[in-house]
């Protein structure tokens, strides 16, 4: 898919992190970006707009990234919407829990743009 046409949803309660992820995506050529401040806000946006990729934090008020992932996977209308978890949680059981919830990949903060690119590319190539 053409990076310019891909629509990203960044979900993070930290405005700093949302901005850093958005800037990193822009340097990678992805300019169509929408932000949500927690899982609940993201659900509202997912219900009203179509997205091609979700990048979500884990620890958020109202609705966590894990709950958001479970919600997306439980709704057939979202199909195989790619989900990349970007979080500070780096314990093995955290990674496994995220995998069980069916995230496509997992990045531990602090991340670098090359790692972000690597994970996005890996997800997109695995989905064909």
């Amino acid at each position: 898919m053409d990076p310019a046409s891909m629509k990203f949803l960044i979900v993070d309660d930290s405005p700093t992190m949302r901005r850093i992820v958005a800037n990193s995506l822009q340097t990678l050529g992805y300019n169509n970006i929408v932000e949500a401040e927690d899982g609940k806000d993201a659900v509202g946006k997912l219900e009203s707009e179509k997205f091609d990729f979700v990048i979500t934090d884990w620890n958020m008020p109202n609705m966590t990234g894990l709950e958001l992932t479970k919600y997306i996977r439980s709704e057939p209308k979202f199909g195989n919407l790619p989900i990349l978890m970007v979080t500070t949680r780096g314990l093995k059981q955290d990674v496994i829990e995220a995998l069980q919830a069916k995230v496509n990949n997992y990045i531990i903060k602090p991340f670098t743009p090359p790692v972000l690119k690597e994970k996005i590319d890996a997800i997109l190539s695995s989905l064909g």
């Binding site: 405005p15 990674v95 069980q100 997992y106």
Partner: protein, 294 residues
């Protein structure tokens, strides 16, 4: 009086006697206890007052920590604005450099064409001093007009500035991580405050003052990871990647979960044998994570 009644009275008298003996023995201890309580009472009052004072200060500490998070968030936003400004200006300079490059290419092309014409004129009029002089002059112009090297050097600098700006942006992730650490400390303070309040209400009928509205607003309820740490990017990612590659190489995530449980049981047994405790966490590397997702 019957003999049975006399025996009963004697038994009661003996019991009374035993009670007096016990009282005599206990009396010095009771005196000690009395003096001890007399001495300890002011100390208990002091502890009570200190607890009350610390407990009153806790909401202020929590609110000040929340203000630190707000301040760092504002400062981070300002730095990000500046980094964005730098990148915007660098891109502007890059556009100008590209224009210079195009101009330089055009100049090279024109220069080559003029050189060729002058060479043809020189062949046609070999003894014309003006043509010879013009050709020499143009060669000097051509040599002095070479701006490609400084252009290339400037472009390298621009790339370095861009990379440094990106590094600043990445380092600013520390704000999110410290905000979570502060939120974790605040949570801890709140828990201690709660316990102290309970303790104080049992010691003293006077209740502690409730949090003011300003304090409630200042202490933001935020979601946090109490284990959030700022490490060099990539270190923890490797462990996470390894987990992912493990999961990817096995038929299901559940198998890995079961393996993890078995490992935990074995580890628990080992720990029981050693009768040691540890606070170490099982940290995932990026390689672990990658292996799960392959």
């Amino acid at each position: 009086m019957k003999s049975g009644q006399i025996e009963k009275i004697i038994r009661k008298v003996e019991e009374l006697k035993a009670l007096f003996i016990f009282g005599q023995r206990v009396m010095p201890f009771l005196e000690d206890l009395f003096y001890f309580v007399q001495e300890i009472a002011p100390l208990l009052d002091e502890i009570n007052a200190q607890l009350k004072e610390s407990s009153r200060k806790m909401p202020k500490a929590a609110s000040q920590l929340s203000k630190v998070t707000e301040a760092t968030e504002m400062a981070t936003t300002e730095i990000l604005d500046m980094v964005d400004g730098i990148i915007f200006k660098v891109n502007g300079i890059q556009t100008n450099l590209n224009r210079f490059k195009s101009y330089s290419d055009l100049q090279d092309d024109l220069s080559n064409r003029i050189q060729k014409r002058l060479s043809l004129l020189e062949q046609k009029y070999p003894n014309d001093p003006d043509i010879k002089s013009m050709k020499e002059l143009w060669e000097k112009v051509d040599q002095s007009g070479n701006i490609l090297d400084p252009l290339q050097s400037s472009q390298n600098y621009m790339n370095e500035i861009r990379q440094l700006s990106s590094n600043i942006m990445i380092a600013l992730q520390v704000q999110d991580i410290t905000a979570q650490q502060i939120a974790s400390v605040n949570h801890l303070i709140e828990s201690v405050q709660e316990k102290l309040s309970t303790l104080l209400s049992q010691l003293d009928s006077e209740n502690l003052p409730e949090l003011t509205e300003a304090q409630k607003v200042a202490i933001k309820k935020v979601a946090f990871d109490s284990n959030a740490v700022y490490t060099k990017a990539g270190e923890r990612q490797h462990i996470a990647d390894e987990i992912i590659s493990q999961v990817k190489s096995t038929p299901s995530v559940d198998e890995i979960v079961n393996e993890q449980k078995e490992e935990q049981v074995v580890e628990t047994k080992k720990e029981e044998k050693k009768t040691e405790t540890t606070d170490d966490f099982d940290i995932a590397s990026q390689d672990d994570i990658d292996a799960l997702f392959k």
